[in-house]
């Protein structure tokens, strides 16, 4: 009605909450592995290996339970360079989000690649994980991946 006449009330607010995630049997094994610097995938009846360990095969819809070790190295399937990390990004220096197919896996994992220049990156490049010194059984137990020298 009189939008232009009034000074709108505005104020910031936050939604902050610590969610308590239960990982279930399959993802728990994956996270335990990470804390020991191992990467686990799951293998379907048709021998397809999903890494990180998927709970369900999207195509056959079967529940996946067979755990297999993959990686730790992998190949970049795609990447996107973030030259100016934004406030919510975990890395504060330039990095890439990447889809990384770990050695021995048939599917890619989303993670980050850092300690390199954008021009060093291309699809097909080999990468290795950089592990955190303080594992918490989380996806962030891998800090990021680096290019294999």
């Amino acid at each position: 009605m009189n939008d232009s006449k009034i000074n709108l009330l505005e104020a910031p607010f936050e939604l902050s909450y610590k969610y308590k995630r239960s990982s279930g049997p399959v993802m728990s094994k994956f996270f335990e592995g990470l804390s020991q610097m191992k990467i686990f995938g799951t293998k379907s009846k048709a021998q397809k290996v999903f890494a990180p360990a998927a709970e369900y095969d999207p195509d056959t819809r079967e529940a996946l339970t067979e755990i297999v070790e993959v990686g730790p190295g992998g190949t970049i399937e795609s990447w996107s360079w973030v030259n100016s990390p934004r406030s919510h990004h975990l890395l504060k220096t330039p990095f890439a989000f990447a889809l990384i197919k770990l050695d021995g896996a048939d599917t890619a994992m989303l993670h980050m690649v850092s300690d390199c220049n954008e021009s060093d990156l291309s699809i097909g490049k080999k990468v290795l994980p950089v592990w955190t010194e303080n594992p918490t059984e989380a996806i962030t137990d891998i800090n990021y991946f680096i290019l294999e020298s």
Binding site: R21, P58, V82, R86, S87, H88, H89, F97, I100, M109
Partner: protein, 351 residues
């Protein structure tokens, strides 16, 4: 099964920050507009369905607030999808086909300005494996763009041409948010947000709302001489496991082409829910639309109201068929990262 037609559509002018307007104040004008255009009221509506997302505003039950814009006395048959309102249209169509209603009001609304859309949309991802890494919506889209470029399915030039064309088309869309022309030089000079995507390749943060009325074949002509028939509508979803998807193609779009028998239809117009420039040439090739005028409204690149832009693609296609007196239109709505969930709608004007 009863045939269903789109009979009316209205869109709020897309705003960069609709702070002055709460949900009710955004929704009410478009609902009134579509009612007034048709000379009807809520009393003529058999089913009402909306699409919205609580997290955009940061308040649980945003849709409940929105419902206050609608006449609900006497109580109405009503539902809500936490999806783009294109899926509210889908649900409404089922209600008409089953005979539970002859008419439906669909509305969608979204305000992306209050929050940080990039970080909010990270929460669409797997909460155990992916969202703790806070991948933003632009970086996720860029992963698909990178592969498409690498495989030469699309080119940088096509992305640039898409942006330039979108801005040109926006000149004809009074509701568009971005109408400034973009030259090749300006595009090339724009910085990369998440490579290979530049700022111009991404949609603007947008606030807005839209409303649509659909009717059964028994009722459509009571409302308009120009009903546009939903000749076909199909949607399906792809895997949540981004790393297991083949991002160079779209099985769900292929599903729609088959299920709707689109191969031999000569479309006059297309509106695609393509939020990023690379998605336009990608989908045009998949849908065989390279010679079909696409996103004459400018599409999401010139105004992208979350939870509404899919419905808008259908609404804009409807408007084109009405105003151009053309026969076949195709509209697309999408949800999720890298076009995970796709809907294709074939609209037809009967001679």
């Amino acid at each position: 099964m009863k045939k269903v037609a789109v009979v009316g559509y209205a869109q709020h002018k897309i705003l960069p920050n609709a702070g002055a307007l709460n949900e009710v104040e955004l929704i009410m004008p478009v609902v009134h507009k579509v009612f007034n255009d048709l000379g009807i009221s809520q009393d003529d509506i058999g089913f009402t369905c909306s699409g919205s997302c609580d997290y955009l505003q940061g308040a649980a039950f945003a849709f409940v607030e929105g419902l206050s814009a609608i006449q609900t006395s006497p109580p109405i048959k009503e539902s809500h999808v936490e999806m783009d309102a294109a899926w509210a249209l889908y649900e409404s169509m089922l209600k008409i086909k089953m005979g539970d209603a002859d008419t439906a009001l669909i509305y969608g609304f979204g305000k992306s300005s209050p929050g940080n859309l990039d970080s909010i949309i990270s929460l669409q991802m797997d909460p155990y494996y992916i969202s703790p890494l806070w991948p933003d919506r632009v970086s996720l889209a860029a992963l698909q763009a990178q592969i498409l470029l690498h495989q030469k399915i699309i080119t940088h030039d096509e992305m640039m041409a898409t942006v330039i064309e979108a801005r040109n088309n926006a000149a004809n869309n009074p509701n568009a948010l971005l109408t400034d022309q973009v030259s090749e030089d300006l595009y090339q000079a724009d910085s990369l947000i998440s490579s290979p995507l530049r700022g111009f390749d991404c949609p603007p943060i947008s606030d807005g709302a839209s409303a649509m009325v659909i009717a059964s074949e028994d009722k459509a002509f009571e409302f308009t001489d120009n009903p546009i028939w939903i000749e076909g509508i199909d949607h399906s979803i792809e895997s949540s496991n981004l790393g297991s998807r083949d991002l160079t193609t779209s099985p769900t779009i292929q599903n729609a082409i088959t299920n709707l028998n689109l191969k031999n239809i000569n479309f006059d117009v297309a509106e695609l829910h393509t939020q990023f420039s690379h998605e336009v040439p990608f989908l045009r090739k998949l849908l065989n639309l390279t010679n079909v005028p696409t996103n004459l409204s400018g599409g999401p690149l010139v105004g992208n109201v979350m939870m509404c832009a899919g419905l808008d693609a259908i609404g804009k296609t409807f408007q084109s068929l009405v105003s151009d007196q053309s026969d076949h239109g195709i509209a697309h709505a999408s949800s999720g990262p890298c076009l995970q969930h796709n809907m294709v709608v074939h609209l037809e004007r009967h001679k």
